[in-house]
């Protein structure tokens, strides 16, 4: 067995054992945000597109899944699926507009469109406005596994995460992923090689939005509610921070980054109150100025230097 496979198996074992040592809801929250950040990384890290509106997909899926489960009475799995599909569709709409511009304009367009979606949620009746959509039942998986039990839900969430992580890993390492990287590195050259760059960008955007939606829907299921916070631009910024802190363009970076941020927020929330934003902002500034490779990126770079010296 390769060293890489052993590392993955150890991580999986840690994931399976985690709820016996740490409060399961916290681990589930980490997993949801890790999935969100991984989905985001697919776009920023591997396609080179900075979307500043990813919370819109996260929030939209949370609302749609919550509405489908609570009001339409759909089974939990179908509710999550509905949320994911809705986020993907929204991603297609936003993406096809946003890819008309590049670079910072792309970031501004996605931010603005996400703000529009936010205002829509604020005023639409099915979202419950400022109160949010509350009291969504978790239901039962396949009709007989009771998800109101935190431990049952935990393994369901872990399964979702592992599936999505595998999907992202496969995408990155597929020929499609290679083309995305080519676009990131040199877009004119990718065009001159005959690739329909716009189509690839849009596909990456839709995939990223749908998976961000899956994360949002799952998070809604864990906490049994969806609120405007899930769609606010603050969250769009947070997912950027998680990805950069962990290391954009690395497979594990988003996982590390989101764990750090979620645990930090969890620890700090009742101690420093609104200063959390200041701390998040400071981490942002420090990352951009000093650790642009992120935690995982720096470790990889360090490892490579060590190997280089030995050889």
């Amino acid at each position: 067995m390769s060293r890489r496979a052993i590392a993955y198996l150890m991580l999986l074992a840690a994931g399976l054992a985690a709820p016996f040592f740490i409060y399961p809801v916290l681990v589930m929250k980490v997993l949801c945000f890790a999935l969100f950040a991984c989905a985001f990384n697919l776009l920023l890290g591997y396609t080179g597109l900075l979307s500043f509106g990813h919370a819109a997909f996260f929030g939209a899926a949370a609302y749609v899944a919550g509405h489908a489960i609570k009001v339409w009475g759909l089974p939990t799995e179908l509710g999550l699926l509905a949320g994911t599909i809705a986020a993907g569709a929204l991603g297609w709409a936003v993406g096809s507009l946003a890819i008309r511009r590049t670079g910072i304009y792309f970031a501004m367009v996605t931010l603005a469109l996400a703000q529009m979606i936010y205002f829509f949620f604020l005023e639409a009746s099915f979202t419950g406005g400022e109160d949010g959509l509350q009291g969504v039942p978790r239901g039962a998986l396949l009709g007989f596994i009771d998800l109101s039990n935190d431990l049952n839900l935990y393994y369901f969430v872990l399964a979702i995460f592992v599936f999505a992580f595998w999907l992202i890993y496969r995408t990155i390492h597929s020929p499609f992923g290679q083309i995305l990287k080519a676009i990131r590195e040199n877009e004119p050259r990718a065009i001159s090689l005959g690739y329909d760059v716009a189509k690839y960008k849009l596909l990456a955007f839709v995939l990223s939005a749908a998976l961000a939606g899956l994360a949002g829907a799952t998070k809604m299921l864990v906490f049994k509610f969806a609120t405007l916070t899930d769609a606010h631009w603050h969250l769009s910024g947070e997912v950027v921070l998680m990805t950069i802190l962990g290391g954009m363009g690395t497979v594990f970076g988003p996982l590390v980054g989101s764990s750090v941020i979620v645990v930090l927020q969890n620890e700090l929330a009742d101690k420093v109150g609104s200063l959390v934003t200041v701390i998040m902002g400071s981490i942002f500034v420090i990352c951009v100025l000093l650790f642009r490779r992120g935690i995982v990126g720096e470790i990889i770079a360090f490892y490579k230097r060590m190997l280089g010296q030995k050889a």
Partner: protein, 295 residues
Amino acid sequence: MTEIFGIPIQALMGQLMLGLVSGSFYAMLSLGLAVIFGMLNIINFAHGALYMMGAFLAWMGLEYLGIGYWPSLALAPLAVGVFGVVIERSMLQWLYKLDHLYGLLLTFGLALVIEGLFTNMYGVSGQPYTIPEELSGAFNLGFMFLPKYRAWVIVASLAVCFLTWFVIEKTRLGAYLRAATENPKLTQAFGINVPLMVMLTYGFGAALAGFAGVLAAPAIQVSSLMGSNLIIVVFAVVVIGGMGSILGSILTGLGLGVIEGLTKVFYPEASSTVVFIIMAIVLMIRPAGLFGKEK
């Protein structure tokens, strides 16, 4: 009473004026963004936070030091400008050789820090700032009442915008600035201190945002969130107008303010989203923006 499309003319004109007022703010802020972008190639996400800072400094000046509106109108932008210079020297200058996105991310972090600090000190609820005596009351124009302060905001911001345009397009300093935007290395080779100009440009952009903040203080309540709510709309304005021309930024800002005001009269539900909808339409028809050049 006279009516246009079933709307009393007084209400219509009133909203039109409000639209022009918010358009003035869009114009000043998008102008600052465009000037900074031209020189630094950075989209200044902290612009909204600097605007909020300007308003708060004016409010704090009055509250703690008894500094009135008129001195604040000069002092607060100056302070924000100095703050901008400090940011540029200590942080932004290290990012010029990197991808433009890093500038956006850094200023986003800064915006969070500034906003978080003010939220921590003053909460999120608004602090009232009274309109100075000279500008309270209203003009009676016969067909409508025009609050003096609103008229002043429009006049003052147009004056500042015009002055900026004049300095950049018509003076020697502006010529240096445009040369440095076009080709910094060559300009430096002619003996012009480009890094100094870059620093001053950011300081000026920040001061402009601070000035807009002081102007806004009596018109709306001073709150720590006033900037971030505005900056996203201003981003949409910038995408619609494109950052190629100064006059373009000013016109787009004013025009969108008016459209927003009119939407409040005819279809209030869409008033918070109309700018974004226009942005989507512009992206479909003319992706480079109304006054933009495709690079």
